[in-house]
Point group: C2
Chain length 513, copies 2
């Protein structure tokens, strides 16, 4: 890996202090199978709401509902009841963002992501009474406590179960929305902000339950939402320096970065994600006007464009292949070529703006020529005049992603972009969108072409439906037509508070006020 | 409970410093079903003896054999192999004294003691590389490491697994045995000492795996073995003060004491165990000649005899009942009346000696009259002249325990005691012995009546067989005829290093040198 230690040091010097607050459980609940409920599980208030001081023996359990999404540290205080405890207490905690995580046994999990993400602990308590501060951080709304064993001589009762929630997002810095905004949008804004807040830790994490790390694709959207809400420039700057300070061997920005045991970049390389370093820097400069940072990081942004250009075929179209070379969306059949061409042009255009700000005229010319070459290639080789859509790959696939990204790249004249998006809704190509991340880009495209109503309608149909399905924070994955959808093989492992889903607050505050 | 704080404080001031030493695993083994092996499990050396640096992924495991019985703290050093770890490591450790604990799944356990004693941990490691010091103390020879999950992007390897073993028994203080002693007895002595050593912690524990606490029945035998080996008087004194400082409401000494979170006596009351406070004090004074402690604790010893006398019926025999009122042995059908009468007389005789040492003539008279009354009653009401055995309870049960304890009480003339023990072996009454604790008293009785050869033969037939069955330390329970015997419903939960089994070293060093 390519390490620039002074940049890494600068990132570390920007380590935020986390804000903590203590949350208490609000109710005891039962989670009941119900086909009409989201993912088949309904949350009912338990008949018996007592849990503190209740005497529990082997086989007893209760489910606490904190009625809020939390990221933090769980503490339990437990006392023995009966004779002096003559054996350890064996306890199981099952910790979940969603009812499915509490109700469906984790040993049924058979997805391809590591089962180690499923939040559970089996704890032996040798000495009672005990105050237990679990050392790991959890992300949850529900905690199921199973008393696996005490002994014939004693039982236990719980005096306290609480959570010290942590975030680097200071809600007091957020401007209140004007009163005239609909309640529905105000609620959507609040949930979006909570989503962003819970992902704001010592970096912008993608999901605080999973993967708990900094991905540049998520960072870009989080930072955009952040500039209109928490407005924490230092956290974005820290993340930019982490990506800039640790790159892949050829200089490409990595797709994600780990913080522990020391900051290090992952070996995942995604063409679109490397390019987003340009977009992130552009957005950061627009929001902060921090010229020093722009000057220091510009060479790395430029290098991303140069590296990206190396993948262009002679015809000016980015080279396709069968590997996981570009992210775009989780859709398993999506061809990445055309949408990636859109990302490239989109980022080149932001890079050009930065070159102008820096008065780098040589670089302006270089980028301008790249934009011209790639845009012309997109129209010439990817635009299918007959079908009225951009096509992607050797199979000439027509996908939502291709249209959306090439609209965002503004390859066609403005009025044709609007027409293209209308056609997309009319013809509904089969290769759709699977993530809020892709939905974000659809909405952004709609606002870009001036389709404010359509954008709002789509926000309501997507994030609004998540709210109806019980979202406390917005989810990594959501398909109103297939509510158990997971690209990982099980909805148990999905992240239910995910960075890339936080952008309704960005749309509301940027376009709807 | 009846607390004498100054006695408790004295006990706490005698808290020993533990001696620690680091033990490394010696081999990688397979545990293989084999009906001819002890409890059906054979330990084979694994073909592949490499474990350090071996790359392990989901589903991989290995079993480390430390080739010694250990009590202490496990430390692991683990490093990732492959891409940067993008998910926690999920690890399971199964920790056992015996092969059965490693080979038989703990979820099959169905005994009546708490399953929380079974030594296992499921650990999530969020950051790699990691050095993990497990906070709980384990008692084991074998550790099975199961890698439950890593991720598709990385595996792990173990750089170190070791154990910091702890004890308050300083082996350097033990006198070597003379060369002429047989190898078999030298080995038995060594294993007995190791058993005692591993039980010597901040108190004399009954078993370092289970129950990990101070029982007075075990203490008495441990102290006797200790005086001839480690000769740690302070640890016995600490234990005596714990029992003396915290008693049951009527003044009776409790059966056992817990140390944490602060010293406290259990609510278990056993008639024989309360009386053993007298015997423990007698043995301690004999070994230490510590007059100050004898003087301070004498009133409590006297009180135990007074309380015991309250249970005598008018005929001078201790009252029987259906509850768990006296321990004697784990045999489920054993009637406790006659053997308990033996314990009473045995302890009264030691109490009388202490009264003489203290020149308490009034008390001497009181105890002498009690001895006369209970001894006469034993002969008159419990001795069945026709059968030639002591009988116990309303069903006039003939058991080994009754004969042994009434021989130890020396109720009959000396030559008749020897005859009675011979008759016991000839007629083999059905109500036999189930624990090394009861076997100890048989051997002690044999030595007492001068049957040195028979005593040695029995030691070889019992502890010698345990050695042949692979004992690294002597076991809580052993029946050469039923090797899976457990009074708890499963041999998984038996203690395989147990205080009351450590006495071969006492017999060898007291009677056989």
């Amino acid at each position: 890996m390519l390490i620039n230690q002074s940049m890494v040091d600068k990132a570390e010097s920007l380590m935020p202090e986390l804000i903590s607050s203590v949350a208490e459980p609000k109710a005891v609940v039962d989670i009941v199978a119900d086909e009409s409920a989201f993912q088949g599980w309904r949350v009912d208030q338990a008949v018996d709401q007592e849990w503190k001081e209740k005497v529990l023996g082997k086989g007893d359990s209760f489910i606490l509902d904190f009625q809020d999404h939390l990221v933090g540290y769980i503490r339990l205080r437990i006392k023995p009841v009966g004779s002096p405890p003559d054996a350890p207490l064996k306890l199981k905690l099952t910790i979940g963002e969603m009812p499915c995580e509490i109700a469906e046994p984790f040993d049924t999990y058979n997805g391809w992501l590591s089962s180690s993400w499923l939040q559970e602990e089996t704890i032996f308590v040798d000495v009672l009474p005990a105050e237990i501060k679990l050392p790991r951080r959890y992300t949850f709304r529900f905690v199921k406590v199973d008393v696996l064993d005490t002994s014939v001589k004693y039982k236990v009762s719980f005096e306290e179960v609480n959570c010290t929630a942590v975030t680097s997002g200071d809600v007091s810095s957020i401007k209140p929305l004007p009163d005239q905004l609909s309640e529905e949008l105000a609620l959507m804004d609040r949930i979006a902000i909570k989503t962003l807040q819970d992902c704001m830790q010592s970096v912008f994490e993608d999901g605080p339950k999973r993967d708990r790390r900094l991905w540049i694709g998520d960072l870009r959207l989080q930072a955009q939402a952040n500039y209109l809400t928490f407005n924490n420039h230092d956290l974005v700057k820290r993340c930019l320096y982490l990506f800039a300070g640790m790159r892949l061997p050829d200089g490409a920005v990595g797709a994600c970065v780990f913080e522990k045991p020391h900051a290090h970049v992952d070996d995942t390389r995604l063409y679109d994600y490397s390019l987003f370093f340009v977009a992130c820097l552009y957005d950061y400069y627009e929001a902060s006007k921090d010229m020093a940072t722009l000057q220091e990081l510009w060479p790395i942004a430029l290098e991303q464009m140069e590296i990206a250009a190396q993948r262009l075929e002679e015809d000016g179209v980015v080279r396709d292949d069968e590997t996981w070379w570009s992210f775009i969306d989780w859709h398993p059949e999506l061809n990445k070529q055309a949408p990636t061409q859109g990302v490239l042009i989109y980022c080149l255009k932001q890079g050009l703006e930065l070159a102008r700000v820096l008065s780098e005229s040589d670089k302006q010319q270089y980028i301008e020529s790249l934009i011209e070459r790639t845009s012309a290639a997109a129209v010439k080789h990817l635009w299918d005049e007959e079908k009225g859509f951009f096509v992607s790959g050797s199979e000439r696939q027509i996908s939502w992603a291709s249209q959306i990204w090439l609209v965002l790249a503004e390859v066609l004249p403005a009025e044709e972009n609007a027409t293209l998006l209308n056609r997309l809704f009319e013809e509904q190509p089969a290769i759709g969108m699977t993530t809020p991340y892709m939905y974000h880009h659809l909405i952004e495209a709609l606002f870009t072409v001036g389709s404010r109503e359509k954008a709002l309608e789509q926000m309501q149909a997507y994030w609004g439906e998540m709210i109806k399905d019980g979202a406390d924070t917005f989810w990594e994955l959501y398909n109103p037509e297939d509510k158990k959808l997971s690209p990982y093989g099980s909805n148990l492992i999905n992240s239910y508070c995910h960075a890339w889903s936080c952008t309704p607050t960005y749309f509301i505050r940027k376009y709807l006020l």
